[in-house]
């Protein structure tokens, strides 16, 4: 199911593979190495397509289903690519009681995608997250590393226009 979302074919470069192999050989013999390796692999590729999971399984000599099981368990791992602009709306309690649900719905409407999806041009991806800890600025959303706080629904249009 989750894999179907990845409509973009996988293009890994030799350089990326070299970095991944270095990460694997660095951590391979540590106890509980799979998580740190997956985290670094996601840093390298931006996401964890089945091809990357296969390399990790082969190199660590563990079954692919074990790797896949761990990848799909944790919200932070993604099996599909993210947009150039990664939008994340905080739906933690402090933001929710201050109306972040409306902010999220407005983005769904504007971008025409649901949470966890990416626009067809690969520009925006939208996710709901649980508390980034900037509760003093609630409701909050982030676009890549920029934080936007004390939002109203009307701010959404203005902010999106900045990226168009």
């Amino acid at each position: 199911m989750v894999l179907e979302k990845s409509s973009v074919p996988f293009f890994g470069t030799a350089e990326q593979k070299k970095r991944l192999m270095a990460v694997i050989s660095e951590h391979k013999d540590e106890k509980g190495a799979l998580m740190p390796i997956l985290q670094k692999a996601q840093d390298i590729y931006g996401y964890l397509p089945i091809e990357v999971q296969q390399i990790i399984a082969d190199e660590m000599d563990i079954p692919l289903e074990k790797v896949y099981g761990v990848v799909t368990f944790y919200a932070q791992f993604s099996t599909h690519p993210k947009g150039r602009y990664r939008i994340s709306v905080c739906l933690g309690t402090a933001c929710y009681v201050k109306g972040s649900g409306d902010i999220f719905n407005r983005l769904v409407e504007r971008l025409g995608i649901n949470g966890g999806e990416i626009t067809p041009d690969g520009k925006f991806s939208l996710d709901a997250c649980r508390c980034i800890g900037a509760c003093g600025l609630a409701p909050v959303m982030t676009i890549n590393d920029d934080v936007y706080g004390r939002l109203t629904v009307d701010d959404v249009d203005r902010i999106l226009d900045k990226y168009n």
Partner: protein, 622 residues
């Protein structure tokens, strides 16, 4: 390298003088400018401010006279970015880039604070107060947060200046493991992650397990939405956690520790990495600490966004590199934990108290709080409250004091409806219980729980059924799926709540909800599942009238549940022009020309065509 107490004290003396400008407000001919570098203030732009501050200071040629310190969280996040100037202790709030040149020239160079940029509560005519004079800080008592917003967490010397690594020295040279455990037992310290299990007892069990390899873990996977106590400790005082883990290692006989920290906390992760490296370089972490033969190492493990990993057995399964699913207990971790070895797991805030207890004694700590809950508790105040931020108060303080005095009350003249503690595992506390002294047992008695310390305030505009649904949405999403009671039970709860918020619920549904809640509580495998029904149960208990309004009257009193809103024509504004009646696609509006029209709710589709066409704004949806 620090190998002896003399060397440690030499560093302490030297750096104590450096921090005395801000700690003791001693004028030593230069100023300390403290800028909050916690997540809250960084999000509101404090990193950029530091850059501008540096440029301006250079421009004014006063680099020699100014010491910029990037600290951890001051607590008053809503006023960020925050900047303090010492030795005076003046408090600039919501600092903007454009204000910096004036602050630098007038205050830092010429010694005249810029009153209009100071936090208004600290300015009284010509008198300028400090942070301690504000109503937000007056009632607070900082133990776990004592160094947050005071020291630069990236400089180990500043931690040493504040008695850092004295506790581990004391433990290694003058105490036995049993002494340490007894001190903790006497102090009455209970786990700050939510459960409230006595910390000393946990350590005692782990010590009693015989095994050559044991582990000390730190739970920094703070997953409650709206809670950020642990993050602030890690960002503001990471060494306090490291030192406490060493003490735990000595007490139970472990030489390896792991800190499991949320990857969503990049600043905390970075500060921890720096702190571990500095402690290792100084010989205060690693092999043969203080030449006593005791060795202790710490590894960092990053979480990957799974709430259930805050549960102790799930956390250990995750460190082992697996899906973070909980395991049945017994065996308890103290017998068989991480990698099947005896393990203790404590929360960040629990560790943050340990060194202070060792240095000041069990009696000092037991002197604070209530009969069964000792010490202080940190709360993350959020939601509909004026002073959003981090507060630390003695156990036994009432919710009313925290919300109305420290938190400054509800903004916009709205009425308080409920305080939510304990996150998705907790409950909503109604106004009639505001005067209950906060401690572990009282909160459970009134149907909530301490949890890790998130405290979200809700006002009359929040619908309690919607809030219960919000938490169930969270639990459904975060349920690991291992046990049926939680995997399917929470989903069913969510569906019934959705039905109610859509106006399709019946009174029978309320009974079904309650029955299912108790079933899940009894049968779920881990703490996440067992406590998942709490938000439903507590809202049913205290806000049943709101549920009844949704079910019987098909009405949402707070005006939140969209499906329950109705279209009304305001008779005082309606001119009786009949336009709405003609535009309505289902003929739901009728009346006589010249007098106010009315909506037939049995026919109305709430499409809003009438509202869009009315020229007199006489039609509302509420």
């Amino acid at each position: 390298m620090i190998r002896t107490i003399e060397q440690l004290n030499a560093v302490k003396e030297k750096s104590a003088e450096v921090v005395s400008t801000r700690v003791n407000k001693i004028d030593r001919g230069y100023k300390d400018v403290l800028v909050c570098g916690g997540t809250g203030c960084t999000s509101s732009g404090s990193a950029k401010l530091i850059k501008i501050l540096e440029d301006e200071i250079k421009k004014n040629g006063i680099e020699e006279k100014i010491n910029i310190v990037k600290t951890g969280c001051f607590g008053l996040c809503v006023l960020g970015p925050i900047m303090m100037v010492y030795p005076e202790g003046t408090f600039y709030s919501k600092v903007e880039a454009g204000q910096i040149p004036q602050i630098v020239e007038s205050h830092l160079k010429n010694g005249v604070p810029v009153k209009e940029f100071l936090y208004s509560e600290t300015v009284n005519g010509d008198e300028i107060g400090t942070l301690d004079d504000t109503s937000f800080y007056k009632k607070q008592h900082r133990v776990a947060l004592r160094n947050c917003g005071v020291i630069n967490p990236e400089h180990i010397e500043e931690y040493i200046a504040r008695d850092g690594y004295q506790a581990i020295y004391k433990v290694l040279t003058s105490m036995t493991p049993d002494d340490v455990i007894q001190t903790l037992l006497d102090s009455g310290l209970r786990g700050r992650g939510g459960g409230g299990f006595p910390t000393g007892l946990k350590w005692k069990f782990a010590k009693a397990s015989v095994n050559e390899q044991k582990y000390v873990c730190c739970n920094a996977d703070e997953g409650d939405p709206g809670a950020f106590m642990d993050r602030s400790v890690l960002e503001g005082d990471p060494h306090a956690v490291i030192e406490a883990m060493e003490i735990a290692g000595f007490a139970i006989g472990a030489n390896q520790g792991y800190i499991y920290v949320r990857a969503e906390y990049p600043i905390a992760v970075e500060r921890l990495e720096i702190a571990i490296k500095q402690a290792e370089e100084e010989g205060l972490l690693g092999d043969d600490i203080f030449g006593t033969g005791f060795s202790f190492h710490i590894g960092l493990r990053l979480g990957a966004g799974a709430f259930v990993c805050g549960e102790e057995t799930a956390l250990m399964t995750s460190i082992e590199g697996n899906r973070g699913e909980p395991r049945p207990r017994p065996p308890f971790p103290a017998v068989k934990g991480l990698f099947e070895k005896p393990t203790i797991l404590n929360n960040v805030e629990t560790y943050a108290n340990v060194c202070q207890i060792i240095l000041n004694g069990a009696q000092w700590f037991a002197g604070m709080g209530t009969e069964k809950s000792k010490g202080t508790k940190v709360f993350a105040l959020g939601g509909k409250i004026r002073n959003t931020g981090l507060v630390e108060v003695p156990m036994g303080t009432t919710l009313r004091e925290v919300i109305e005095e420290i938190g400054g009350g509800i903004p916009n003249g709205k009425k308080f409806k409920a305080a939510q503690t304990g996150g998705p595992s907790g409950g909503c506390i109604p106004p009639e219980h505001l005067d209950v002294p906060i401690d572990y047992d009282n909160l459970i008695f009134i149907g909530s729980m301490m949890g890790s310390g998130g405290l979200i305030v809700m006002d009359e505009d929040n619908c309690m059924v919607d809030i219960a649904k919000f938490f169930l949405d969270f639990t459904v999403d975060e349920s690991c799926g291992k046990c049926t009671a939680c995997r399917i039970g929470t989903k069913r709860l969510y569906e019934i709540l959705t039905k109610i918020t859509e106006g399709k619920g019946t009174l029978e549904d309320l009974d079904k909800l309650e029955e299912l809640c108790y079933y899940i509580k009894e049968n779920a495998l881990c703490g996440l599942g067992q406590t998942a029904p709490n938000p439903v149960l507590s809202t049913l208990r205290y806000f049943r009238d709101e549920y009844i309004a949704h079910v019987v009257d098909k009405r949402c009193p707070a005006g939140v549940c969209k499906e329950l809103l109705t279209i009304r024509i305001l008779p005082e504004k309606c001119k009786g022009c009949s336009l709405c009646s003609r535009k309505c696609p289902v003929n739901a509006i009728s009346g006589k020309i010249g007098s106010p029209y009315v909506v037939d709710h049995s026919k109305c589709l709430k499409c809003g065509v009438c509202m869009a066409n009315c020229k007199f704004n006489a039609i509302v949806m509420d």
